[in-house]
């Protein structure tokens, strides 16, 4: 019986200790929770801009509109005007940062591109003076033109009108181009016959040329066929036309009218002429000892007939005189 009582007491004590253990377990505990953070850094960055017409962005010397560059690569940016813009560039911003001074100077250098670049350009009110440029273009097989600075100035003076000069002051871009083209294969039969009829018996046609003056004002092209003054042009005579005792001249065919323009220089290698009209020209020549200047075919018979006749006449006369003396 005592054993039973002890067992029941022990059971009783045990039943009271359970909540205490539970409390002890709940008094402090912990757990972990993991979270991931991720990032993607792009491999390329864009280079774009909001540029006014006529303003060009250059990257490393090449004009760019919109492009991508490798991240952390190095580039230098400059900016410039083309014919389409005659206003002074006021400010240049990259992603809102003012870089006008750098980009208008030696260039805006980005040693390491780490973001997209967006260029913004604003123009000022100031009108930039325009520009006048001259160039010449010599076509295939055409003779070259010798031009001194004075010659170019004279061409510009003769081509530009008062309005042209005013528009240059107001920012216009004017280009004057003198072009010389061999038109031997494209000249019309009518043009050829007009020229040949004009020089018949006096000159031989050498090379048919189209000499043109093209004036481009702010991308608008105009062929100038009538100048305000005459200008002098010096062409190099093609090698295949050169010969001893040969004289050259130019024949101009303008609006159906042919005109002979004499060579104004003393050089055998060049021909200089003055003209204020520009269209089809022909280098013509005449050989001084030729009876038929239009027939330049070399037959190979170079015997001086007149001299021979004279020699034979003298010989016959001498023989006759000697014969009469012997008879006496």
């Amino acid at each position: 019986m005592k054993k039973i009582v002890c067992f029941l007491f022990s059971l009783c004590l045990l039943s009271f200790s359970v909540p205490a253990v539970y409390a002890e377990e709940q008094s402090s505990y912990s757990y972990d929770d993991a979270t991931k953070i991720s990032v993607t850094v792009p491999e390329y960055h864009s280079v774009t801009g909001e540029l006014p017409d006529g303003v060009v962005l250059y990257m490393d010397g090449n004009a760019v509109n919109a492009t991508n560059v490798k991240r952390l690569s190095s580039h230098t940016f400059t900016i410039g005007n083309t014919d389409g813009n005659n206003r002074k560039i006021d400010k240049v911003y990259v992603n809102g940062e003012d870089v006008t001074e750098e980009i208008m100077g030696e260039g805006y250098n980005v040693p390491s591109v780490y973001r997209d670049l967006f260029f913004t350009v604003t123009l000022g009110d100031e009108i930039l003076p325009g520009n006048l440029e001259f160039s010449s273009e010599i076509g295939k097989n055409a003779p070259t033109v010798k031009l001194t600075p004075e010659d170019i100035q004279a061409i510009e003076d003769a081509v530009l009108t008062d309005e042209d000069e005013e528009s240059v002051k107001n920012g216009s871009q004017i280009n004057i181009m003198l072009s010389v083209t061999d038109v031997g294969n494209s000249i019309t039969d009518r043009e050829k016959s007009l020229i040949n009829a004009f020089i018949s018996g006096k000159f031989t046609p050498g090379e048919y040329l189209n000499i043109e003056i093209l004036k481009t004002t702010d991308n608008v092209e105009t062929y100038v066929t009538q100048l305000s003054n005459e200008i002098k042009l010096t062409l190099t005579i093609p090698e295949y036309l050169r010969a001893e005792n040969r004289t050259f001249a130019m024949v101009r065919l303008h609006n159906g009218e042919t005109t002979l323009l004499e060579d104004l220089d003393n050089s055998a290698d060049t021909i200089t002429f003055s003209s204020d009209k520009f269209s089809v020209y022909v280098i013509v020549y005449a050989d001084q000892n030729s009876n038929n200047p239009t027939d330049t075919t070399n037959t190979g018979d170079t015997t001086p007939i007149a001299l021979l006749v004279l020699f034979l006449t003298v010989s016959a006369t001498t023989l006759c005189l000697f014969g009469k003396k012997k008879e006496n």
Binding site: L8, Q26, S28, S38, T40, R115
Partner: protein, 152 residues
């Protein structure tokens, strides 16, 4: 003896049947006790992708929700991080970062929470210079939130 044993047995059975209820016959008062287990929910930030070039990105919130704590206890959330995002292709290339309390911009190391609704709004901060020098690629790091129910 049998009677004595019967009395003892009866008292034991009575004590087992009504746990923690003691009746003092002398003053006739009744003490009722009970145990309420502490319960709480801690919310930690979910995984996040930081936008490129963002110097401060919302990382979410550490908060104590639906809490029923013991009066002398609290919940402590401790952040374990090496503060470095590693390039997945080349672990030598890294981007340093830090996790901040948005309320005062202090670096978040740990937070102590006592009652439901208490929270810490966090942000992931990456310095612009660190962005600028980062190589291209995908970067990643895992942070661990240690949650402890402990004494105040």
């Amino acid at each position: 003896m049998k009677k004595a044993a019967a009395v003892i047995l009866a008292s034991i059975i009575t004590s087992l049947a009504v746990t923690s209820v003691t009746v003092h016959a002398e003053d006739r008062s009744t003490l009722i006790t009970t145990t309420i287990s502490p319960t709480f929910t801690v919310t930690v930030p979910l995984s996040v992708k930081v936008p490129f070039n963002s110097i401060s990105t919302d990382f979410g919130t550490v908060s104590l929700d639906a809490a029923r704590l013991e009066s002398d206890k609290c919940v402590v959330v401790t952040l374990e991080t090496d503060n470095t995002l590693d390039n997945k292709s080349n672990p030598d290339e890294t981007i340093p970062y830090s996790i901040h309390n948005k309320s005062d911009d202090s670096v978040f190391v740990s937070g102590t929470y006592i009652s439901a609704g208490e929270k810490s709004d966090l942000s992931i901060n990456i310095k612009q210079d660190d962005w600028n020098s980062a190589y291209a690629g995908d970067y990643e790091d895992t942070v661990t939130f240690h949650i402890q129910y402990t004494d105040k």
